[in-house]
Symmetry: none
Subunit: 256 residues, 2 copies
DNA sequence: TGCAATCGTGCATAAACGTGCAATACCGGG
DNA sequence: CCCGGTATTGCACGTTTATGCACGATTGCA
């Protein structure tokens, strides 16, 4: 489109600050590569920013001027940490320029946060939290599925949502799931929710389920999809080996 | 097609502003090429716009006037505090069992947080942030408008969103606004955004605009609604009295 | 200590900038 | 119709800013 997609000097400094606040640190070499300028220019940028008190200059790059994040609560931290790890593993299954369905749920929100930038991904979701997690980050296009929001699941459900979902064709989908079984497949608690997940799965090439340990032993009321619909499963590394073998035997790629 | 497709100077400045709000930056060289004028003229335009506080002049072009990150806690906090107060005032205009449209925007997010519980309100919004602010609280039903999310606005826009909005009839609507004028009414920067706000206003009985001080002196490119469409205006208490009188004269109820 | 990466400084070059000036177009009054 | 004022524009000039490279000093790590 534009003749020059060159980055303005001051704009670059702003982007550096943005990266700094997101990652907590920046590396001079990486920045030089990313913005396609010499390391000297980056050094000058960092020096200016440090002079304004906006960052702390260190050998090799810069750090946040303030302490990045206070340590979170301990108990809640552990479950969140697990979801974060599972999310990161699941995120690695996503390729460049793919269209991905992300269902509502705290685990899927963690996945959304873990998705890499600059991959030209299109994220389709019925959950405001997921949308917020990726909105505004570079290389993301976000499509929101509307409808009535169910406070229990934190996402839109209902016929209107399903109709919108049917307009989409995706490469990958990440349905939230209430229970999982190596023989019968995916189970959910709610009728409307079930139909939406089914539409989601049908519209996608591959299906990935991220299962926290509790999902592997739970049971639910509505059958959502057979185990054959599942292509990838992401679970904690301390999961029972025989259980995993049963999933592999059903043709599911298991990731730890 | 007129024979002269020459762009008027002031018109050009408006178009530059539009591009600026669309892309977050403008490059002087590109603009000169696009409008077929010398870079000197572009520089003069940018200088004028910057003098009006509508953009931030930088070497090579211009950036959005908005502060990229909070330079100091005080200023940003003060603005947040102001929005919180304005939000609370606006929230008092909402009655029991009403259906209300809430547009995207940080001020409207503050409004959503300030809405009272247990009032059987139905909130219709195109913004994930607004949805999250009220989701799960007692006495709220939330309807999400889907569509492609615009990262600059923080909400869904486009024809799909508009179609969903047209299915709704609301008591009250809170359109976000880029600029406000006691004679001409509401102004916005983006075409698609304009159409959505128009649909929103038409579908609602009353229209409330929450205007932070900067909106009252700013100017924008797209006319969104006449002043007669406005029923309530919420502004800071230190706003110029003669300005408020002009709004009251136009039949707008002003709240401080 | 030795080595490689990183840093700061000085310098040359190119791009962008501001200013002054002249040319042109538009507008209202005589 | 003419004429002076104003606004806008492009050009020339000297100035400022940003950049990359070269060189030597410094830092971190083994």
């Amino acid at each position: 489109m534009s003749v020059t997609d060159a980055t303005l000097p001051r704009e670059r400094q702003g982007l550096i600050l943005e990266r700094l606040h997101r990652d907590g640190k920046v590396v001079a070499t990486d920045l030089a590569l990313e913005f396609k300028v010499s390391e000297d220019s980056i050094r000058r940028d960092l020096r200016d920013l440090a002079a304004q008190g906006l960052c702390r200059r260190v050998y090799g790059g810069a750090l946040l001027a303030q302490t990045p994040v206070a340590p979170l609560g301990e108990r809640h931290h552990e479950r969140a940490e697990l979801k974060r790890v599972l999310g990161r593993v699941a995120a690695s299954l996503v390729g460049e320029k793919q269209i991905i369905f992300i269902d509502a749920g705290s685990t899927n929100t963690a996945l959304a946060k873990a998705l890499p930038d600059h991959r030209s991904l299109t994220v389709v979701t019925n959950a405001p939290d997921v949308a917020t997690a990726v909105l505004g980050r570079p290389g993301f296009e976000v499509i929101l599925l509307g409808g009535r929001l169910d406070p229990r699941i934190g996402g839109a459900i209902g016929s209107r949502t399903i109709r919108q979902a049917q307009d989409i064709r995706a490469d990958l989908c990440f349905p939230g799931v209430c229970a999982l079984d190596p023989v019968s497949g995916l189970w959910t608690f709610d009728e409307e929710e079930t139909v939406l997940k089914q539409a989601m799965i049908e519209a996608s090439g591959e299906t990935v389920v991220i299962a926290t340990p509790d999902k592997l032993v739970a049971s639910a009321t509505h059958h959502t999809a057979p185990i054959t619909a599942l292509t990838h499963l992401v679970v904690a590394s301390d999961t029972d080996a025989s259980m995993l073998e049963r999933y592999r035997h059903a043709g599911v790629a298991v990731h730890l």
